[in-house]
């Protein structure tokens, strides 16, 4: 991966950039100082002109988000920067690498963003499982504080405790306020009323790490990389049935073929490619004939799916698609926060119907029912989890329908126990969700 043009992870192969002195040796925090000498509007204009799109999943332009945040003097209250480090989309492990290897680039981005919205409070919400990453980030934050680089900003690292939904921005805000992580109705959007009801900028780790890069390179140089509508690089997370899985930082718009075959080394053991999940488990699947799609926001969307968090999961021909759908759906059932009925009840129905199909107890009417339920969950929940629960399953049915029908016609799984994910178990929550036990005497 050293041959690729790196921005986010630049220098991390040669130096230990988790250390402040090493990061400063490559020019780190010089841009922060320059940004603090600029007006807020000028910083926002740079980010807007660079057309930086959010790397967390939705691809929303960061410049627009910045300009929507009411400044403290207008809002009449403090404003907040919240960094979303709750990476939990299945297939995604990019933020983890950024936090471990270039934490200062990320912190510098947070501090520039704070200047741009006139905020003196940065909260980093890091998923609870990322203990090693928390330790690195904490160390980096302590170094920044001791070196007097905070410039009056308070930087708080908040650890999550295991809930996929908290990657959703409004659920994250509720969690940060000390509640169950459940999404809020919108509007109002976080730039108007976010954390503690105050104007809040909330961005993904990788998005924020792009900010010092844009200011350092300048808009013109930055825009030379990747497609015009979404410039820059992205850290693609490649996983599944591929020879060399891992993170690959490449220009946006790299094709799925180049990622899987050139960088990833192709499918191991002489197997055939069966399916590509282009943006984390929640997006519609691609078949092998869609492999030449460039992996950027607009191209993937034009082809009917989403780039999401740029997490590409490769599936080979040993995998039963009904089993894959069932495993994915059990995840969404488990992670549904329970607030909205279509998502809470619908995910359970979907699991029951998929289980019926996999075990050969389903009729063709059941398959139609499952397909129909998808359309009645989509778009009917406060957040996108309801959509995420539908998109993979519906796309598996539509693109691999013969396989679903074979389960029904043959009265069971045509793989006859030979699918590579046969019997895979979803979590059992005996220790977390059982009623509070009496203390042993």
């Amino acid at each position: 991966m050293a041959d690729a043009q790196q921005l986010i992870l630049a220098g991390a192969d040669e130096r230990d950039l988790a250390r402040l002195d090493e990061y400063k040796a490559v020019g780190g925090y010089a841009v922060l100082e320059r940004a603090r000498g600029m007006s807020r509007e000028a910083v926002i204009e740079e980010i807007s002109n660079a057309a930086l799109r959010g790397r967390g999943g939705a691809g929303f332009p960061m410049g627009r988000k910045l300009s929507l945040v009411q400044p403290p003097e207008v809002a009449g209250k403090p404003t907040y920067v919240v960094a979303n480090a709750d990476e939990s989309e299945p297939g995604s492990f990019k933020d983890r690498e950024i936090l471990r290897r270039v934490p200062h680039r990320f912190i510098e981005g947070c501090l520039i963003a704070a200047h741009a919205i006139g905020s003196t409070n940065v909260f980093v919400y890091i998923r609870g499982e990322y203990l090693a990453e928390y330790e690195v980030l904490k160390q980096a934050a302590d170094e920044v504080r001791d070196a007097d680089l905070l410039g009056g900003v308070t930087l708080v690292i908040h650890r999550g405790a295991g809930a996929y939904i908290c990657g959703e921005e409004t659920a994250l805000l509720d969690s940060l306020e000390g509640k169950r992580g459940q999404p809020r109705p919108r509007p109002p959007f976080p730039p108007i009323a976010g954390l503690y009801g105050a104007p809040t900028l909330i961005n993904n780790v990788q998005t924020l790490a792009n900010v010092p890069i844009i200011l350092e390179l300048g808009v013109e140089e930055y825009k030379k990389i990747g497609p015009e509508a979404s410039p820059g690089t992205v850290v693609y997370s490649l996983s599944g049935n591929v020879e060399r899985p891992g993170n690959y930082e490449l220009p946006l718009g790299t094709t799925l073929r180049e990622l899987i075959y050139e960088h990833g080394g192709g499918i191991p053991n002489g197997r055939q490619l069966k399916a590509i999940i282009p943006g984390g488990s929640s997006v519609p699947v691609f078949t092998p004939d869609e492999i030449d799609t460039p992996a950027d926001f607009d191209s993937i969307q034009a082809a009917g799916s989403f780039l999401g968090s740029a997490a590409i999961i490769v599936v080979d021909d040993r995998v039963c698609m009904v089993q894959l759908a069932l495993r994915a759906e059990k995840f969404y059932m488990h992670e549904s926060c329970g607030k909205c009925t279509p998502c809470r009840e619908g995910t359970r129905w979907m699991v029951q119907l998929l289980d019926k199909i996999e075990t050969g107890r389903a009729t063709h009417e059941d398959l139609d029912l499952l397909r129909g339920i998808c359309n009645r969950i989509e778009g009917r929940s406060l957040c996108a989890l309801g959509d995420f629960a539908v998109w993979p399953v519906r796309s598996y049915i539509d693109k691999y329908r013969a396989e679903f029908e074979a389960h029904i016609d043959e009265g069971g799984c045509p793989y006859g126990g030979e699918s590579s994910i046969e019997g895979v178990m979803a979590p059992i929550d005996q220790h977390t969700h059982s009623p509070v036990a009496e203390v042993p005497a």
Binding site: F93, T154, A161, G178, R180, S239, I421, M425
Partner: protein
Amino acid sequence: MSLRDEIREAAAPYPDQQSGVMSGLRLAQNAYGGWLPREALEEVANALELTPAHVQSVASFYDMYHLAPIGEHVVEVCTNLSCALVGAQQVVDRFSEELGVGPGETSEDGKVTLRTIECAGGCGYAPVVVVDHRYREPTRPEDVAGIVADLRNGNG
């Protein structure tokens, strides 16, 4: 420092001390041997001036808070898509054989709880196993016996 003071100190950087409930629960869980009995929830509630009901509503929402007793060590195997595709279930099966229990259960000697978990964010280094909050990536079925032996012998 007392647990109460630790909980309050962790809540201090927030504009509203209710935000300290998650760190408070983590501190209490560590202090109470890895899980949260009713007393622990009450202690968090009292320290932050919240109701025990609110604290319990938070504790029951997140997977990393344990509301039932748990083993001295916790082994967690990710079985989400990327791990499943490269043999996570074989790793689960090996742990089950070694420990004599299924996922969600604790070995008879009380030493090790086995859990299956959702995506831990190690998809490129799959299958991912997390032992006492430390990632072991990748873990193959042939690594399992050694991991269990280390935990049983106190070298975990």
